[in-house]
Every structure is written in C-alpha cells, then in structure tokens.
C-alpha cells in the first residue's frame, strides 16, 4: 500500500515547494495517529522523523544505515518493521542532523535499491516511548535473566573459550563441545568427549540457583561472527531434558521464536550480552527458536537498530535417557507409544478424531461460524443442478452455510458438533446431531452434500464407511457432492493465507513417516497431519482468542477420492473437479 514496484524510479530527484509540504503533512498526520506522544519541532533538533523509510516502503535496514551513517557514524536509527512506514534517526550533534535534513528532505536517494519514494523529514523533540514488554508476543515459560555474569566473569569465560583450539567450523558458525559431542546429522548427543572444564562447571552451579534442577552434561559453545545465525529449530525433545540453558556473551542479539502451531506467529526476544536464557516448557517444546542471518537487529522494545557483532553463546543441556513425556505431545519427535502415530486401528482412529476433530470443533464453533461463509462454485453448481423441491441432506453441515439459502430445495443437516448444530439451528436450519458414519435420516434423498468433512476421518476404513453411509441415504439414481482437501494446494486460498509462513522445514528430529506431524508450512509433506486453527485476536465474542487448536486432516492425493467412491461398488462417478485446493466428487448411486 505504501510502495508500488511498477512505478518508474526517479532516483536523484528532489521534491520541493507545495508538493513536498503536502506530502510531509500527510506523513506527519500518520505519525500523530500512530505515535501521538512524539512532538514535532519547528526548530532544528538532533532527532529526525523520516517518512517513506521502512521495509513497508521497500527500504532495508542496510540502506538506511548506508545513507545515515554517511552523515554521522554514531547515528542511532529506530524502526518499526512491518508496522510503520517511517523511522527515526538520532544524530550525535545538531549540525549533523541539520545537514542530513537539508540534503535528504524530499530527496529520492540514489542508494535506494527498490523504493521510489522521497524521504520526508521533520525535526522531533522525542522518540516514541518504548513499548511495555508485556505488550509483546513472547513464548510462554521463557525466562531471560539479565546480568547473569559480571563483565569480569565474562572476560574469563571468553579467554578460556577463544583460546581453545578444538573449534569446529560449521557453515554459519564455529562450535565447541564439552561433556558429550553433539551430532548434527541426527541432532542428538551420545558420544563422550572432553570433560566439562571447571570454568563451565562453576557456571552450571550458578544456574542451579535459578530453580534449575537438572545437571547439564552436554555443553555446546557457539561462536558467531557478525551476521551469522542459526536456523529455526526445536531442541530435540527426546534428546535433551528441560530446560535448554544458554548464556549470551560479547554482544546482544535478537532471538526469533516461531510458534510450532503457526509459524506466522513469531516473537523476537532480545538476549542481552551477559544474560542467561532458560528455554523451557512451552517455549522449548512448542516453539522453534533461531537467529536470522543478518547484519542488524532491531530491539523489539524500542525499535532501536543495532549492528551485529561477534557473539559467543554457551548452551547447557542434559541428555535425556528416558522417552520425553512433555505436555506438547503433538510437537514431540516420537509417537508417544502410538498415541500420536497415524492411526493403525479403529480405536486409535477414534482417539485421534475425538481429540483432534470433535473436541476442537466444539471449542472453535463460534469462531468457525464467524469465518465460514464463502461457498465453492462447484458445490453451488451442484445445488443449482437439482430440480425444485429435491430432498437434500447436508452431512457435516457446520454452521449451516449451505442450508440457509432460500432455494426451493428441502434441506436437512447433521453435524457431530452440538455447538455447530446450535449455531445452525439459530439460523432456522433443520438439523440433528449425528456422526457422519451413522446418519439419522430416511434413505430416500435426492441429493447428499458432504463438504469438507471426509478428510477429518483418520483411517481408510472409516472414510470408506462414511462414503457408504452417504450412498445409503440416497435413493437409487440420487447424487452426492463430496469435497475434501487436496494434498496439492497450488493456487489455493489456504496457501495464499499462509504465504508469510515458512516453507515447511522438515522437522529434522523426526524419523520415519508414521507420526502425525503438525503442519507448519505451505506444502503438505504427508497425508495425515494436524493442522492448526488459530482463533484470531480480532474475534470479538470468543474466549479462545489467540489460542491455537490442532485439527486432524487426511489430505487426498489425485484420484484418491474417486478410488474411494468406487471402492463402495455403489456408485458411478459423474465428475471430479479440482477447485482451490479441494477435490470435489459428484457421484451417482446405482
């Protein structure tokens, strides 16, 4: 909205006069709307408000640094990435601020690599107040202890580490191990190596004063050069106990946490120099953490930009000898004695559907109702093709979105969720609560709808039973319209919604394909998985605001739906349609 990449870029030109004044006025109004505490000054100050200078306008931190450090090597830049179109620059002297103002106000700087907008500057008396840390998203259970070691202790540790010869140089950083070696191909650690030296042992004793009861026996020291990072990862549940302890030395860094149930939910956490972090509980088991490879970080509290410097981290972990029993079993790397495996028999299928379909829909029903309205073309086309006063059953009718239309059809619905039945009934829909595989209707229907339901059944035999049940409801010659999620989501709305998420990083820790995995990328990597349902913060009525739920899905391969229908030996296939990442089958009972 701020930036149009198709516009010609008139680099090196300067706006002036009324046009420039009008542009600045607009930007200052924006400032007043978002950061009312900032006072614009009529006389020069050392602080500049600079509009059209954020990543929203296609301007990177590197470009900002390059431009402003040219005026003042000590210039301090404050940004609000993805939130504001403007930044602030604080200069060390009034003169430097004036020079920058005079040369940059209205100027489309030639150093800009993609933006075509002029910087619009104004002097300000102050910067926006720092946001209270409580307003920032932060993974639960994470603890950061500031000033855990003194500067003298830090120096001693660094002397010991940096003089140690046994550093292993990885792609993005150097590492050093004590106690046990860490195997980067399996992400586990078993092989004994150089014993933990006294310097680190003292540290372990100090950590135990903070309520840590484990005794770490695997130490990894990472040495990061400026700009180096570490990809987002979970510390393997079954390899290490809780917590993962880490001491930051030499410089500050922003660690990025990503919710394993929704990778668009990220939290930047400042790890100050000499601080200790305890990555434990939810922050250890459910959130991934990593450090982005980049030259600059932004302090999440006040927006201050700071350049990365060399950093050393000491990670202390305790090797786990018994299987993990954490409460975040969906994110665990083993199938929890079959509980989290892809169902192999009917009782485990029932367990999965109870916990990851039925219970979830009861919980999310109000939010589901707020968000489910759009209708698919192929389904509407099917309904339009039916003669007036046809008898239609909608199996898994949800909030009743296909029942409410006043369309000269005689429609009844059923749903497993009582809360969804109530929502549909309030809209004057005729509904009964029932299981998809045990329908309470007379078997004389002209047509049956089954929209986005079949993929919630967790075994082949249960899916087959459901299609048989749909066909049982039909009179001979009656037709059914069945839709399911496709494994191939190319061009689908869902994948567009997830565009700002990562490509699926294969969960390094998971071996074998038998475990149900939480889907956190764009592409489906396996057919049976748990898909997060995020109750948005904007939802007004919902007590589950901001919570994530996991629903079981079996996503269908090409031809799979047709084959399933034919396996019943009770129908012929009229057509199979692919629409927005869904397979839609129109079938006819013989």
């Amino acid at each position: 909205m701020y930036f149009n990449e198709n516009k010609p870029r008139q680099l090196g030109t300067t706006f002036s006069g009324d046009k420039l004044r009008r542009k600045l006025q607009k930007s200052v109004q924006q400032l007043k709307r978002h950061d009312a505490d900032v006072i614009v000054s009529d006389t020069p100050t050392a602080k500049l408000f600079v509009a059209n200078s954020s990543v929203l306008c296609g301007v990177s931190l590197e470009e900002l640094e390059e431009i402003f450090v040219g005026y003042d090597a000590e210039a301090q830049i404050t940004v609000f990435p993805n939130k504001r179109a403007y930044s602030f620059v604080e200069f060390s002297t009034l003169e430097k601020a004036k020079q920058a103002y005079d040369e940059l106000h209205g100027y489309i700087h030639p150093a800009l690599r993609s933006s075509h907008l002029p910087f619009l500057c104004a002097y300000v008396e102050n910067l926006p107040a720092a946001r209270p840390s409580s307003s920032l998203l932060r993974p639960n259970d994470l603890v950061v202890v500031e000033d855990f070691v003194t500067e003298i202790e830090e120096e001693k540790l660094l002397n010991f580490i940096l003089q140690h010869a046994q550093c292993e140089v990885l792609k993005h950083r150097s590492v050093l191990h004590f106690g046990h070696e860490f195997d980067y191909s399996s992400n586990t650690s078993f092989k004994k190596c150089e014993p933990i030296p006294k310097e680190i042992d003292d540290l372990i004793k100090a950590v135990q004063r903070y309520g840590v009861t484990i005794e770490p026996d695997q130490i990894t020291i990472n040495i990061y050069e400026p700009g180096q990072g570490i990809p987002p990862h979970y510390d393997t549940h079954s390899a290490f106990e809780d917590p993962v302890i880490s001491l930051s030395l030499l410089s500050d860094v922003v660690m990025e946490f990503k919710d394993g149930a929704n990778s668009a939910r990220t939290a930047g956490v400042l790890l100050p120099r000499r601080s200790l972090s305890l990555i434990q509980g939810e922050s250890r088991y459910r959130w991934k953490h990593g450090i982005v490879n980049r030259k600059y970080d932004v302090n999440p509290l006040n927006g201050r930009v700071f350049s990365r410097r060399k950093r050393v981290s000491i990670t202390m972990r305790k090797i786990r000898h018994k299987p993990c029993e954490c409460a975040w079993k969906e994110f665990c790397d083993w199938d929890r004695d079959g509980e989290m495996s892809i169902p192999q028999n009917d009782s485990s299928a029932r367990f999965i559907e109870q916990n990851y379909v039925s219970n979830v829909y009861e919980e999310i029903a109000p939010h589901f109702d707020e968000t489910r309205h759009s209708q698919w073309k192929a389904v509407q086309g099917f309904l339009d093709s039916l003669p007036d006063y046809s008898l239609v059953y909608d199996v898994g009718c949800g909030n009743g979105k296909y029942l409410i239309a006043k369309d000269r059809l005689v429609k009844f619905g059923s749903d497993l969720s009582m809360n969804l039945c109530q929502i549909a009934a309030r809209k004057d829909c005729q509904v009964a609560r029932a299981d998809g595989r045990a329908q309470p209707f007379r078997p004389i229907a002209d047509a049956v709808l089954c929209i986005a339901v079949l993929h919630h059944l967790s075994s082949h035999s249960r899916r087959l039973e459901m299609v048989c049940e749909l066909l049982r409801l039909l009179r001979p010659g009656g037709r059914a319209c069945i839709t399911v999620w496709s494994m191939d989501q190319t061009g689908a709305q869902y994948s567009k919604m997830r565009e700002n998420k990562d490509d699926t990083e294969m969960n390094e820790q998971s071996k074998g394909g038998e475990r149900l995995r939480v889907h956190d990328g764009k592409c489906f990597e396996q057919q049976d998985l748990l898909v997060p349902w995020q109750v948005e913060g904007g939802s007004t009525t919902d007590e589950n605001k901001g919570k994530a739920f996991l629903r079981f899905y079996h996503v269908f391969r090409e031809n799979e739906l047709a084959e399933l229908c034919l396996e019943t030996e009770m129908c012929t296939i009229e057509k199979i349609i692919c629409e927005q990442g869904n397979w839609i089958a129109i079938i006819q009972k013989v």
């Binding site: 009934a425 005729q430 009964a432 309470p440």
Partner: protein
C-alpha cells in the same frame, strides 16, 4: 425440530434395526412459529412425506386437529387441508422432548429444538 424434520428421521443406523421408522415422539415443550403459508411448498413436499407417520405422530402429541386419517385424493385442491398440513409440518416446533427407536427402544433426547442422534460407536 419441525414435524417435517421428524418425518425424515430414522434410527436405521443402529445395529440390528431394520427400518427404525417412524420414531416415536414425546414432547415436553413445543411452540407455534409464524411461517408464511406456501402452497407450492406443501404441494411439492407432500409426495415425499410419509402421511401415516405424520398422522400417528400428531395423535401421539395431541395435535391431530382437522387432519383426516388418510389423505383424500383431491388434497392438492383443498386449500384448507393444505393450510392445515402447512401448520403441522412447519409451524409446530418441538423444543424439548425425546425420540424413541420403535425397534430397539433406544431413546434420543431433543434439546433446544435439536434431536441428538449421536450414539456410541458400538451401537451402530
């Protein structure tokens, strides 16, 4: 739940139940909803409605009123009868009550106007 809905419900899905129809209806609370008379609708829906089920259910809940025990041949032209059919099919709403399978005796509660036909996995 309207009596129209009841007319299309069956407990055939239960194990060892042959037709499960009609379901016996007991009513604890019902109300009369205002629904505009739609002659086309009644004329078109009646061929799908099981008239015997409708009449026996009306008798059971004390609502038979002016409906004859058998549908006369000229029902399509009889406006008064069409209006009465309209009343019993879509204006009566059962809010609280229960449904009973005529074969197995399994009872399904009706609450907030919604019949709860959910059964245990081993019942079907």
């Amino acid at each position: 739940m309207k009596l129209l809905t009841h007319n299309f419900l069956s407990s055939r899905f239960l194990k060892n139940v042959a037709t499960g129809y009609p379901l016996l209806l007991r009513v604890n609370e019902k109300e009369l909803r205002e629904v505009e008379f739609d002659q086309d609708f009644v004329q078109n829906i009646m061929p799908k409605v099981d008239y015997n089920c409708l009449v026996s259910t009306l008798m059971a809940i004390g609502e038979q009123g002016a409906l004859p025990n058998e549908l006369p041949e000229n029902w399509r032209e009889n406006e008064e009868l069409l209006k009465e059919l309209h009343r019993v099919l879509v204006k009566i709403e059962v809010i609280v009550g229960e449904l009973e399978c005529p074969e197995s005796g399994r009872v399904f509660p009706i609450k907030d106007g919604i019949p709860n036909m959910l059964c245990q996995e081993d019942e079907c």
